[in-house]
């Protein structure tokens, strides 16, 4: 992971746009709950690889757009995104040093925490989703993370 070159903000916008679109592409219903939280993964990656470009405000607005996109109560995803982005920013120097496997496990715990925040807000706002399948995106997100790191790092180095 290159860390001496701040990525152009173009990469930030393009990748979050693609992540947002991927979060809305219709899938067959049996595949639907496997969908990882692409936008959160992108936010986490930028917080790790380019903490200046992908700051907390970026996380906040990304979450707000996702709220509007999904039509849930405004502020739900932005709160969760800010919380996760804060953790990553707080420890980014350490997490960056982790070997990829170790880093992936860290991301997995972050994803779990993220789902827990959403679960909690859903419960408070009176729309609890108590299906066990809601935790599956944690696993699929963990699987997608190394791929995302590979792809985004490649673009970062080239540009």
């Amino acid at each position: 992971m290159s860390r001496e070159r701040a990525p152009p903000r173009v990469l930030l916008y393009v990748s979050s746009l693609i992540a947002l679109l991927l979060s809305a592409v219709p899938l067959p219903s049996f595949l639907d709950f496997l969908r990882p939280d692409f936008l959160l993964l992108v936010v986490v990656w930028f917080a790790l690889a380019a903490p200046r470009a992908g700051g907390l405000a970026f996380a906040f607005f990304a979450g707000l757009v996702l709220d509007a996109f999904q039509g849930v109560v405004l502020g739900e995803h932005s709160f969760a995104f800010v919380a996760i982005a804060y953790l990553v920013h707080r420890f980014y120097l350490r997490i960056r040093m982790f070997p990829l496997g170790h880093q992936t496990l860290t991301v997995m715990s972050l994803l779990f925490f993220y789902q827990f925040i959403l679960f909690w807000i859903d419960g408070v706002t009176g729309h609890p989703v108590t299906d066990w399948a809601r935790w599956i995106p944690v696993l699929t997100g963990t699987i997608v993370w190394p791929i995302l790191v590979g792809v985004l790092s490649r673009f970062l180095v080239r540009s």
């Binding site: 639907d32 399948a133 809601r134």
Partner: protein
Amino acid sequence: MAVLRDSGVRPPVPRFSALGLKAMVLAAVSVAIMVVDYRQQHLQVIRSALTSAVYPLQLIVHSPIAAWQRWQASMASRDSLLAENAGLKETVQKDEIRLLRLVAAERENQRLRALLGAAPRIAERVAMAGIMRIELDAFRQRVLIDKGSRDQVFKGQAVIDAYGVVGQVTNVGPVSAEVILLSDNAHSIPVQVSRNDLRTIATGSGDPRRLSLNYLPRAADIKVDDVLLSSGLGGVFPAGYPVGRVVEVRRDPSQPLLSISIEPYAHLDRDQEVLLVWFDKPTAPPAPPEVAKPATSKRHGPAAAGTDAPADATAKPDTPAKSAPAAPAAPGTKPPTAPANGAPAASPARTGTGATP
């Protein structure tokens, strides 16, 4: 984020304190937005603006899939189109005949209602809307439609399809609106059993093929294949639209309430188009004569067994043609149920929305 320099040099001093403060502020803002959005309607403007801002993105997702479907349709073979056309013509003819019968029934219904002094049937207007091929949330039963406030769509509007009730509008943008389906587990619809006017509430289960009735006591008169219609209480849904069919009734002796599964008639997971319904909210009819009338007609009912069935038919005037086959079954089961459920259920239904929230 305040500093967006393109040099990659790390700050000499870790920005932890500022970071924590910023996170606190943003989290507090998020919570404030959530509270305001959840408790009040002040954010309607912002939400509407955000909705229209993300609409182009949603179009980006939707259009390739829609284009693919259009292309597939335009590539359909001549033979299959001809066959489809013939089938549709046949259906239209059958429907025309059914409709003719229905017109006569409706006229009769109006006359009978006039005799009863009941409020006339509610005028309705519908408009078609397409469902956008967009996945909003895997664990919520919600869809996006391509009509918005520009087409007079409003929040809380009822949405139906050719088979039954689909759901209601929850968010309205300028050119799009979000619809919560009956099967969302945060959604409930007031219904009544067409056979005996037993009223209850059908709640979504998260599965597009299932609804559930959770509030009926064990002694309630309901059985498999009973048809549920929207009761119109609450004023969101027009009365008398088919909602679903009872597929399972579980009587657990240890539980005070029944657990009942409903299969919705609407094709919640397959629809491409839906209908938006505008109807005038039923105004509260003058109360005293309304309460008296059904009571007397009920008293006449059991006296002569032959008049029971017609009396029953007038009690549920908004029933569509679907319940016509169910009517002959009613007299057989009527004597035991009429004193228990029929009479109390029928009279409050006439008085309006006061009885049930």
